[in-house]
Subunit: 273 residues, 4 copies
């Protein structure tokens, strides 16, 4: 089953597959060009994390499969057919992928993926050195350990996140995030979730890290979904210096004082038991 | 066909009836008590505008029919069964009439009705003196004529409006208005209308009179529908002095300078020809 | 020191007086007419809670002082001069009390007062039977005790609230609330408080009771201030049936799941020690 | 006089200089690295539009001056000291340049500059081929002439815009744009402008091109200022195909139907006479 967000010019944002467990099966990233694809594949192979080429999904060209050091499955591709909406979904404004749905939360795009990892730094290093990302913010514990890292590829302030998995397991998902247009959409989403029996884990509130306005819910399969809105924040400085938060700063909770909920440190998918 | 808005504790906000023309068939008002109903019926009869008692609509008790001086049909009732939502529409919060729909514009309530009248003042006087309303704002032309009057019954700053019908006809409708929760909902509604081919007449913008944030569209039958949001404005002063706008003030257009669109003065339903 | 909110047509919303403790000194209510004032004074005297007439504050006519059963000071008046803004505060739209300030949170109005009381019911009964309010929502503990009551006088869903004071003291304040225009204003207010060192107790979130979007902060003197937005909710039904929440329902926390913070039950002013 | 927006990590967004006319004196762009600076300077020199090196402004390193084909002054630099806010402007969250101001419109950033040019295409070509931008949207008249072009350097959908100057003059400014956080901020800004006598030219409304929510005002010196909000829209596709709008499409007006105001085609600074 394929799902598209309405501002997505590719064929789908998400492919749902029946499975005995929850979790994220594979994360696909698009290279910026054919040359970029080839350059990155070489770097991945040099890092010893390559799996090999595969036929791409519907509408997607040659696809290279690999893993990150923690074992999450990834793939990289360049060729992609542009989405051609059916007649009833044609947008009125031609600079938009399809008509605005006006149903449910109406998320605009898949915003980011947050992985759990037994150790975060090797994965952040991999994304930075091999995939070409940059660290924008991170948490450094008093012990010196980096317990979370936010990385981005363009001006959105993060695209991939690694958070330490307190269970020590590999390859798990913390959450995937979808961005609706406004904070009002997220408040409205909270009402929609409430009336539809969708479990709200925490929020709406504002993250101190990255300042994202957030709402965390669990989809029926148990995966954590974030609805997020960055409120116009972008990282435009080419020499952005990663912001490092200390354990003491983290203990203050979220931006306006909400304490970080315990399950945020313990719930991942597939679940631990 | 019955329609309900989601914050409406009565059985329906609107009853749609197949007919050869557009326009508003009849406007029902609820009295504040049985005594209030009887008192108003006497006043209406004394004014010579009574029609008589009828069985109420589904869920509505004894109903008294009458007209305003311009000939618009009205009815007044007191008894009303409270809406009992079906299982799939039960709200999570029990201080709400039904679950939030999360589909389309999701308007919260029927907010007001704006009538066209050959002469506005006799109608405003009727609503004030016979029905118990109060004028909150009005337009006085240089000629001394009152060309529009906004009246209310409680703290919402208007419930019924009379605007001069330049065609001189009687009994026509200018628009009915529904209130979604926020201005953001109205901006979102504009996108939904755009993508669904609903004709946008004017807005979104802010009225100078009453300061309402507005969007005017035509439903497929040709009736003008306003989506309105008062942005927290209420008339709380018991001695509110009606605000009178001059022709010169009106010529400035809407609050932020949008010129009043010509069709606003000419389009009413049933249409004039 | 006098403070006005920008949509207040009277001379001030709040008068700040130097004092050795925090708390609310006296709450003034405006009657709907001279007759209403006299009628209510008689009822208050009959209830044995009258104190007597006093000269009103600046711009306010004859004022009758009294207390509620818990001992909070009140006063009632009718005559009130309308505010005439100085030149630099004149609004562009003449249906507005003064220019929009555009500084800080820019609250539109004083919205409600929430009192602590050793026992809530006698006070709610007094507001209902003597002052003419109506209960819109309340909490009933498993023991049968009403531990909180929300009362209103018009269509705003509450104006006065009584909450049980767990310390058993009399005459204390839980909070006063100001309403800015939108939920976005409250999110913005949270940022302003954060950057200005104003203590945020809880929120922003949505109350289950009354569905108000809220933010609670302490002003430097220690009084709790709520910034609240009802998101267009009004009580329009003349036969509204008070909503009674059970202990089990309250245990669910606020609308979207935020747990009620402990200090909400313990912090009142003047402080307990 | 220097002005900073609150989310700007450099020393200033804008430098105001007393002058006998209005208009934009010079637009400074920051290169992504020292190498990028040197590469671009070579390309500019090869294009014959270089002026030469100058000492940078306060906090800015070596700066290369040049013009675009229409004669607008530009400069390019790489070295830049990061802004260190004074004690009273320190933000509570350390991933923010300074405290949120909470005064007036509180714009987050300088968003884009829209130039008038006697001919747009040579300038768009220059930005694309010499400065490294990409065209995201444009207008092509029935005559084949490109009458406006929107270009970007990262994922914000435009940073520089060229619009045809109907007077045929060179080097003029159409507007500069600042981005507050939300559409609500723009609605609020319209009220602030209204009450402060700032001329509102058009809006708030939504552009069809780029879908930006906008408000255009004139600052006291006569320069047009846009307040804009993209509502979360970003151009993420590396193979984005420029959207070309026809004369017929443009004739429809803005997204929700607002007609483009005449002065939009005629007012530029310095003014034409």
């Amino acid at each position: 089953m394929y799902l598209r967000t309405w501002d997505d010019y590719e064929h789908h944002s998400l492919k749902l597959t029946a499975h005995s467990t929850s979790g994220i099966r594979r994360t696909a990233l698009r290279a910026a060009s054919q040359e970029a694809l080839e350059r990155r594949v070489k770097a991945i192979e040099a890092a010893g994390l390559g799996v090999g080429w595969a036929d791409g999904d519907a509408g997607i060209g040659p696809t290279y499969r690999f893993t990150d050091p923690d074992g999450h499955d990834f793939e990289l591709y360049w060729e992609s057919e542009w989405y051609d909406p059916p007649e009833h979904l044609r947008p009125s404004l031609k600079n938009q992928a399809q008509a605005y749905p006006g149903r449910g939360v109406s998320v605009r795009r898949l915003d980011h993926v947050n992985f759990l990892a037994a150790a975060t730094e090797p994965n952040g290093d991999f994304v930075r050195d091999v995939l070409g990302g940059r660290v924008t913010e991170q948490i450094r514990l008093d012990s010196g350990k980096i317990s979370a890292q936010w990385l981005h590829f363009a001006t959105k302030s993060y695209d991939l996140v690694y958070t330490e998995d307190w269970t020590g397991r590999n390859g798990r998902l913390h959450h995937i995030a979808f961005a609706p247009d406004t904070r009002e959409d997220i408040l409205r989403a909270a009402d929609i979730c409430l009336d539809n029996g969708v479990f709200i884990e925490t929020g709406p509130h504002k993250h101190a890290i990255q300042q994202t306005f957030f709402l965390y819910v669990y989809e029926p399969g148990g995966n954590r979904i974030e609805l997020c809105n960055p409120v116009a924040r972008l990282i435009l400085a080419p020499d952005w210096r990663p912001i490092t938060w200390t354990e003491a700063e983290r203990a203050k909770g979220q931006a306006w004082g909400l304490k970080t909920i315990d399950s945020f440190h313990t719930h991942g998918t597939p679940s631990a038991d």
